[in-house]
C-alpha cells in the first residue's frame, strides 16, 4: 500500500506543478488556455460567437464541420488574431502578448514554407525566431526533428516533400521551443498509418509530460484513438465540451442504441422490456438484440443487474451511437 501512496503523492506533485508555473494574482493556478466570452468577426462575417472555456492538460479534440470556426478559435488561441470581444489568455497572460506566445506551439493546416529551404533549416530558422542562439536553435531543431521522425530526411529541400513529411516538419516547428500548449490544426492530414502511430505515441508522451494539446481533426475515428475529450464547435459557437460519454449522457431526448449479443436473446429481450429506461427492443439476425434506451447511467446499472438475475452470458455489449461521430451529429441536430 505504501507503493500506492507514494505513487499518488508523486502524481499529485507532478500535476499541479504543470499548472502553477504561472499563477494568477489571486493565487489559483491560471489555466493553460482560457477563452472568456470571446467573439471574433471579420467585417460582417462572424467567426466565433461568445465562446468561453478553459482547456485542461492532456489531449483535447476539436471537432466540427467545415467553416464552424475551428480555425478562428485556434488562431485566437495562438494570438494570431485578436478577439473582437472578450479575452483569450494563455497561463493568465493575453494570448496576443509575446510572453504568451512563448508557451504556445502552432501547427497550421496550410503549408507555410519557403520551398527552397531544407526542412532542417526551416525548423532552425523558426527556433532562431523564437529567440534561441544559433547553437541552441540547432540543438533544439535536431531534437524536434527527431521527435517527429524526420532527422534522416531533414536535409532535403521542402519542395520535394510529400504531404506527410510537410506535416511532420510543421509539427517539429511547433515543438521546437518546447511549449506547454500545442495547437495542432489537422496534424494527421496525409500522414500514413505507420508514421501516424509514431505521432500518436509522441502526443501521448507530451500529454504525459503535462502539456496541453488541442487537436482539430475531421477524422473522428483517428481522433478517438488519441482522446475521448472533445470540444464541438459549429456555427461559431462552442456547442459541447467534455468526454464523449459525458456529452452523450446529456442528450436526454436522444435514446441510446445498444447492441447486445447473448446466448438467450429472446429471454433477454423480454427482460429488457421490463426495464423502465428501455424504449424499444428489436431482435436481429444472429441473436443480436438492439435496444433503444434512455438515461444511460441508470440503464447500464440496471442491465448489469439483469444479467446477474437472469443468469445470462453476454458476448457483446456495444453502444453504437456513442462515438465522436454520433456526438457531433446529435449536437448539430439538437442545436438547430
Amino acid at each position: 500500500m505504501d507503493a500506492v501512496a507514494s505513487e499518488r503523492a508523486a502524481l499529485a506533485e507532478r500535476l499541479p506543478e504543470a499548472l502553477t508555473r504561472s499563477a494568477s494574482p489571486d493565487g489559483s493556478p491560471a489555466p493553460i488556455l482560457q477563452f472568456d466570452r470571446v467573439s471574433k468577426w471579420y467585417g460582417p462575417v462572424i467567426g466565433l460567437n461568445e465562446v468561453s472555456f478553459h482547456l485542461e492538460p492532456g489531449i483535447t479534440g476539436l471537432v466540427g464541420p467545415n467553416g464552424a470556426g475551428k480555425s478562428t478559435l485556434m488562431k485566437l488561441a495562438t494570438g494570431q488574431l485578436r478577439p473582437s470581444l472578450g479575452v483569450v489568455t494563455v497561463l493568465g497572460k493575453s494570448a496576443w502578448s509575446a510572453e504568451a506566445k512563448w508557451h504556445v506551439g502552432y501547427c497550421p493546416e496550410s503549408d507555410v514554407f519557403y520551398e527552397e529551404m531544407s526542412g532542417r533549416d526551416f525548423v532552425r530558422a523558426i527556433a532562431r525566431l523564437s529567440g534561441f542562439g544559433a547553437q541552441e536553435a540547432a540543438q533544439r531543431a535536431e531534437r524536434a526533428l527527431e521527435l517527429v521522425g524526420m532527422s534522416d530526411q531533414a536535409h532535403r529541400c521542402v519542395r520535394g516533400y510529400s504531404k506527410g513529411m510537410r506535416q511532420r516538419i510543421k509539427l517539429a516547428q511547433a515543438l521546437v521551443h518546447d511549449p506547454e500548449l500545442l495547437i495542432l490544426d489537422e496534424p494527421m492530414n496525409g500522414i500514413d498509418p505507420v508514421v501516424r502511430r509514431d505521432l500518436h505515441r509522441l502526443f501521448f508522451d507530451l500529454a504525459e509530460q503535462g502539456k496541453s494539446l488541442l487537436i482539430s481533426s475531421h477524422q473522428l475515428e483517428e481522433l478517438e484513438r488519441l482522446t475521448d475529450r472533445v470540444m464541438v464547435v459549429a456555427r461559431g459557437r462552442l456547442l459541447a465540451q467534455g468526454t464523449v460519454t459525458e456529452i452523450r449522457d446529456m442528450f436526454e431526448n436522444q435514446p441510446l442504441t445498444v447492441r447486445i449479443g447473448c446466448d438467450r436473446p429472446r429471454e433477454l429481450a423480454g427482460a429488457l422490456l421490463r426495464l423502465p429506461e428501455v424504449l424499444g427492443v428489436e431482435l436481429g439476425a444472429g441473436g443480436m438484440v438492439t435496444v433503444r434506451a434512455r438515461q444511460p447511467q441508470r440503464f447500464y446499472r440496471a442491465f448489469g443487474q439483469l444479467v446477474l438475475e437472469e443468469n445470462l452470458d453476454v458476448t457483446h455489449l456495444e453502444t453504437t451511437d456513442c462515438s465522436t461521430q454520433a456526438i457531433l451529429e446529435y449536437v448539430l441536430q439538437e442545436s438547430l
Binding site: A3, V4, E7, R8, L11, A12, E56, P57, G58, I59, G64, P65, N66, S162, G164, M165, N189, G190, I191, D192, P193, V194, V195, R196, R197, F204, A207, E208, H218, Q219, L220, E221, E222, E224, R225, T227, D228, R229, G242, T243, T245, E246, P296, Q297, Y300, G304, Q305, V307, L308, L312, D313, V314, T315, H316, L317, E318, T319, Q325, E329, L332
Partner: protein, 345 residues
Amino acid sequence: MSYNGLRMALIELEQIGRRFGNHVALRDVTLRLEPGRIGLLGPNGAGKSTLLKILMGLLKPSEGQGRLMDVDIRTGGIRLRRLIGYMSEADALVPGLRGAEYVALAGQLYGMPRGEAHRRAHEVLTYLGLEEARYRRLEEYSTGMKQRLKLAQALVHDPPLLFLDEPTSGLDPAGRDAMLRLLLTLGRDHGKSFILSTHLLNDVERVCETVVILYRGRVIEQGRTEELRTSRYDRYRLQIEGRLGGLIDDLRAEGVQVLTATRGRRAVPLGAEVDVELGDNGRASLAELVVLVPQDWRTRLFFTLADNRGVVIRGLQRDDEDLEQIFHRKIQETGTREAAGHGTH
C-alpha cells in the same frame, strides 16, 4: 466493351517490377483481384502510386506482365484509361470552367460524343448532389463539392473500374460519411469496381471487401478483410464506468490477464497492485480494459465482479483485430522476416 463482371479477373499481375534508376519502386508484384471494392494500403513510398500508374498504362513495368480487364498493361495505354475513371487526390481542375462544362469535358476526353457528354454530365452531377452548383465556376466550389466533382468526372463515361486516390481528404465528418456511403452504393448496387488508395484505414474498413497491402514495393498481404482478421476468442475489451482499482485485482484473482488498461485513451499504469488513475479529468472518461480470459470463461463473471466493486460495465466486445492492427502486424512481420533474411545471408 462488354465485360462479364463475374467470370473474369479484374486485374491479374504477374511478377511486376518497376525500377527508377537504382531505386526499386515495385518488385515481384503478383496479384489476382476479382471485381469488387478493393482497398490499396501502404505507407508513403510503398509503391502504391507506381502501381496505379502502371495499371493506368502511364508507366511501363520494368519486368513482369499483367492484364486489366483483359487488356495488356504493357501495350494497353489509352485503352486501359478508357476503362478506368480516375479521381486524383490533388485538385485536378481546369480553372475558369463551370461544373457541368468540366464534367462534360472529361466525358469528351474519355471519348464520348459531345452531346452525350453534356447530357451525361448533368445526370451524374445530379446524382452526386451537385445539381445546384452545376453552373458555378470551379473556383467557387468548396472542398466537399470539389471532391464530388472529381468523382463526377471519373464517373461520367460509366467506367467499370474507378481508381480513387484519397477521396475523403479534406472532407468534414458529414462530407466524409456521405462520400463513403456514395462509394459503397456505387460498388454494391451499381456494380462498380474500385481501388481505393488511402491512409485512412477506417475508410477502407467501411467500404472495401478486399485489401491489398503494399510495403517497400511488395505485396505483403492481400485478401478479403474478414479472412485477414484473426479471431481472438479469448480476448475481450471492457468499457468500465467508475474506479478500476479493485476490479483489476479481482479479475486477476479469477485468472484473467489484464493486457492494457486505459482511461480516456491514456494508459493506466498496471505495475504490481498499483492503481493510479488520473484525478481530475479521468472522472468523466470510461476506462477500457483489454483482457485475456482463461478457458471456459463465462462473461457473466465480468458483471458479477463489476457489481461487487460497484462499477458499471458499459461495453463488452471480443477484441478481434481491426484493419489498423492487421496492417501494423503485417508490416512488423515483414520487417522481422526481412531482418532474419539478412541475418542468414
